[in-house]
Subunit: 235 residues, 2 copies
Amino acid sequence: MTITVIPVEGVPEVHPGDELAVLIADAATVQGTPLEAGDCLVVTQKVVSKAEGRIVELDPDDREARLALVESESVRIVRRRGDLVISETRHGFVCANAGIDLSNVEHGYAALLPLDSDRSARHVRDALRARYDVEVAVVVSDTFGRPWRMGLTDVAIGVAGLAAVLDLRGQPDAHGRELQVTEVALADEVASAAELVMGKALAVPAAIVRGLHPSWLREGSARELVRNPADDLFR
Amino acid sequence: MTITVIPVEGVPEVHPGDELAVLIADAATVQGTPLEAGDCLVVTQKVVSKAEGRIVELDPDDREARLALVESESVRIVRRRGDLVISETRHGFVCANAGIDLSNVEHGYAALLPLDSDRSARHVRDALRARYDVEVAVVVSDTFGRPWRMGLTDVAIGVAGLAAVLDLRGQPDAHGRELQVTEVALADEVASAAELVMGKALAVPAAIVRGLHPSWLREGSARELVRNPADDLFR
């Protein structure tokens, strides 16, 4: 089962109200890799937020305004050190600055997370089905840090048509014993694989992950990826 | 820049003293996808530990013995709840049960992390160069949980010939502004991409990640991925 990760290049600058599905599907076709049934299309949060108009004015040098915006996008502050705020968003994600991002947007503006990033993923998936008659999974990805480990990885903040978490409980390992490792964060791994061809500086806003196991393509939600705070040792 | 992720199947059961590089390279050749210069070979910790004899007897029902083993493999306990221990290993990794794993090993045994997983990666890389005259990067991967998010992802615990963390500081974004997101955990994303074709239950112990940007293939170390405890808000 070989998996191929294909960047979608040539997507035009995205504006509020644009139909992302069309911009990306057409760019994929133009570059000779049209979307196929069973593909997973990974789309960055940045262009989803642009298409949904989740862009606000923000003077990057106005520290007070920036912190106020982070607080207004958070339901709870988890940690704070200097200007760095780790907080929980309304979606349940814990990340820096409530996911607000100043890069790859116009100067003087900031991109906020989509209000409902699962819905964003479903919207792209439904539009692709309706307009191109192609059944693809969709992941909306964002770039988060982690405790303990340096560097950022892309994770899934919205999922449609894909198991976000793959439950392997009850499956035997190669020695016929029940597996210890039972839940794979599939959608996060798909987002990370896609990031390898997107490159922060390249402004490639989407990638096709082709070859995922058909059994993984079921209804899914990024909510599967949010750990219950009561079970969380670090919240 | 399309990336291909190819599982290496047909690797025989690994025993202490086996030369992993040979077992995997030969299996890759037999299945028709020989290693090529510029590939990154991802090898699971489990087979590395087996080849290095890092397997110890452990009665899985002996709770006391299991906890004692976890403590002996830890330099510090970070959190504890019931039988779950989150600890820091001698490598600086923070993970459950000091990375000790009971699945995919014989009943009555446990696999410990390699003593020096960077050295393990370098050993495979050097052996491939010496025996097959092919220059590949090597990542030793393991499966870790994360705070806040459900499900596990594969990360890099050993790296050779690959930038573990990619530093994009100073590079402009698509709007010509300096990037906010500056450090990508490249080796972790490569490990996650590889996991997509390995499948915990399938016992595929290695995968080839083909198509990484040539500039990423430099000397690297998993130590790049260990956050300085002084800078860590969650240690």
